[in-house]
């Protein structure tokens, strides 16, 4: 019983972070139709960024996060402008190759900059592990989960309720159309990519207090983000959210219900099952309300 609540608690909190990461990927994909294989490495950008600054107090942590996220956003902007933009028209999924290679480059860059393995930062949150429903939850995870949820809500508000959001959706549906109604799509694209990168970096910042980081974590995170987006259904942000949580719970459950690496396959099989039963993802396309 207690283990069950433990599983749920852990799963949900971890899942919320996955959802946040997936959200960034989802934004970039749905607007630009770019599959960003480097996404997980943008998360590492956040993690290593804070590791590098090594904040010790909460204010320090927040300040550092702001800076790091800003940098990540800027980096995303530059990447889009220099690498992605000019390849969007190209066949053969050129952006795919570029983002993959970018991720690779980032991975080995981190390898060089941070030779010491599996580092993390001191827990910045002023409260320590607390009891919820009889299970103890580390403060880092709790904070990360809650903040991720808030951010996810913020992002969906941005997309469905703001002008920028409707511009994004317009570009995502017909670039030609967007141009014909006078939308500066390059700006939208850059902003979107920067936003996606920033979100990833935030997730990284939330992870680093309790998740030791190493360069190859990037690909894992990318894959998890993909799973979240696919299971969530590429048309729905609510889907992404619930898919993230599902993945989190599946992981937590798998880690103790089935032993060893069967846990991994269990998760992916579950994933496969979901997309078989519901090819369009968990949640049907949310009928876009007239903004």
């Amino acid at each position: 019983m207690q283990t069950l609540t433990q599983i749920l608690m852990t799963g949900v909190l971890q899942g919320l972070i996955y959802a946040l990461i997936g959200l960034g990927l989802y934004l970039i994909f749905s607007v630009m139709r770019v599959v960003n294989f480097a996404h997980g490495f943008f998360v590492l950008l956040g993690m290593y960024g804070l590791l590098w600054v090594g904040p010790t107090s909460l204010p320090g942590f927040l300040a550092a996060t702001v800076v790091v996220v800003a940098v990540a956003g800027a980096f995303g902007y530059v990447v889009e402008r220099v690498l992605i933009e000019s390849t969007l028209h190209k066949p053969g999924h050129a952006q795919l190759v570029i983002t993959i290679s970018l991720g690779l480059a980032m991975q080995y860059f981190f390898q060089i900059m941070f030779p010491e393995p599996y580092q993390k930062i001191a827990n910045p949150w002023p409260f320590d592990a607390i009891q919820v429903l009889g299970v103890t939850v580390g403060s880092g995870r709790l904070a990360a989960g809650v903040i991720s949820l808030l951010l996810a809500l913020g992002v969906s508000f941005l997309v469905y309720k703001t002008r920028f959001g409707s511009l994004m959706r317009a570009c995502s549906q017909s670039l030609e159309g967007a141009v014909h109604v006078g939308i500066n799509y390059t700006r939208v694209y850059r902003a979107t990519f920067a936003l996606g990168a920033a979100i990833a970096a935030i997730a990284g910042a939330l992870l680093i207090p309790f998740q030791p980081v190493s360069p190859h974590l990037g690909l894992e995170l990318t894959i998890k983000a993909f799973i979240v987006v696919v299971v969530g259904g590429s048309e729905s942000m609510w889907g992404v959210l619930s898919a993230g949580i599902l993945l989190g719970i599946a992981e937590a459950a798998g880690s103790i219900l089935v032993s060893g690496s069967l846990a991994t396959s269990a998760i992916y099989l579950l994933f496969l099952a979901v997309i078989l039963v519901r090819p369009q993802g968990l949640v049907m396309r949310r009928k876009v309300s007239s903004s």
Binding site: R163, S166, L167, R169, A170, Q173, S174, E176, G177, V179, H180, V181, G182, I183, N184, Y185, R285, V288, S290, S291
Partner: protein
């Protein structure tokens, strides 16, 4: 009265082939000008060139007397150069309503004719019936209507219509042509691209004839209507393929 659009030695490329070759063309402000020409003459290419989404080279390119060479498409649109494209280019996953809104959300840069939602729906009752359907599910003709409505909602100063009657029922064509005539009365400059040359000439005060990427005649509609060129040149068969050879 000033000129709405003026281009000189205007060339447009598609990929590696120069489709429109150094065209000179003027649209006096507040008039309705027709651009006619056989298929593949390069009308659409010309328009996409003007909007700046194709590779172009221009000796002169002025919009309302202002040099706009190298200007980005969206800037032109926001300055009131509105194109209703041949392929319609709607937002398939947005409702008819939203398709018209995305425009409204653009702020009021274009200082042109202003159409209220109701006026648009009066123009195209069919759209009102379908207003909450996704544009992607509309019929061919309904798409045309929506595209035109969206174009009008953009508050254009110069409106370019690429084959607005394409795929429309005759009765709808009548009403659209009527509307176009109507709005041109309001002093809005219009470039009308049409296949149905007689209809086009009937409406326009002035017309340019495009053939194989070059303007072969520019004259008042009346003159053109009974010019021999119309019979020979315009109705001439489509350009032979070997002009571009075989791949």
């Amino acid at each position: 009265m000033d000129t709405a659009l003026l281009v000189e030695q205007f060339s447009v490329w598609r990929g590696r082939s120069e489709i429109v070759r150094s065209v000179d063309l003027t649209i006096p402000g507040g008039t309705l000008v027709a651009l006619v020409g056989s298929n593949g003459a390069g009308k659409t290419t010309f328009i996409e060139g003007v909007l700046g989404i194709l590779t172009t080279k221009a000796g002169r390119f002025e919009l309302f007397g202002e040099d706009v060479r190298g200007r980005k498409p969206w800037d032109l649109v926001n300055d009131g150069l509105v194109v209703v494209p041949q392929e319609r280019r709607l937002f398939p996953m947005m409702t008819v309503e939203e398709n018209l809104d995305i425009v409204g959300s653009k702020g009021d840069k274009g200082r042109g004719a202003r159409f209220t939602r109701d006026e648009l729906y009066d123009l195209f009752p069919r759209l009102q019936e379908r207003s909450s359907n996704f544009a992607g599910t509309l019929s061919g003709g309904e798409r045309s209507m929506l595209a035109i409505a969206r174009g009008l909602a953009l508050q254009p100063r110069l409106l370019i219509l690429d084959e607005p009657s394409l795929g429309l029922a005759p009765v709808v064509i009548d009403s659209i042509m009527a509307t176009i005539r109507e709005i041109s009365q309001t002093g809005l400059s219009i470039l009308l691209v049409e296949q149905n040359v007689h209809q086009a000439l009937a409406m326009a005060s002035w017309a340019h004839v495009l053939d194989a990427g070059a303007v072969i005649a520019s004259d008042t509609s009346d003159h053109l209507r009974d010019s021999p060129l119309l019979e020979s040149g315009y109705l001439g068969v489509v350009p032979a393929a070997d002009e571009k050879g075989t791949v």
